[in-house]
Symmetry: C2
């Protein structure tokens, strides 16, 4: 489930989050989608799970830089 095949819109559907949130997590290096020819970001099912967990941790009071350092959401 680490094949990067879905676009951001699908990730939004699966997680219930917005494009903005997903792109922000990516900007903070918590997830690493691949780029297709046209520049579109492609995500895997693993990424979907990570995004959900990141959002959950943020609600618990954590910050993105803490999540990155702790490796709590870096499962590769």
């Amino acid at each position: 489930m680490h094949e990067k095949v879905m676009s951001i819109g699908t990730v939004c559907d699966l997680t219930g989050l917005t494009e903005r949130q997903i792109r922000y997590y990516e900007e903070k290096q918590l997830i690493f989608p691949v780029r297709s020819k046209g520049g579109a970001h492609k995500y895997s099912f693993d990424d979907v799970e990570k995004v959900k967990e990141i959002h959950s941790k943020l609600r618990d009071g954590f910050h993105t830089f803490e999540l990155r350092k702790s490796g709590k959401v870096c499962c590769e």
Copy 2:
């Protein structure tokens, strides 16, 4: 692996076929993608496998209507 999450471009990448071929197999009711809000077709990994097999059978001399009837590529 039956979750419909990828767009046709990704299916092309994974199968090596063209959009035209994939849409044709769909027109002949050999694969059944779901539609997202915007009208885009979404495919699953199962669909990718089916597409590969359909193409393989066609090269072997079969016709789309035969594949549909025989159920050789209808694994749902």
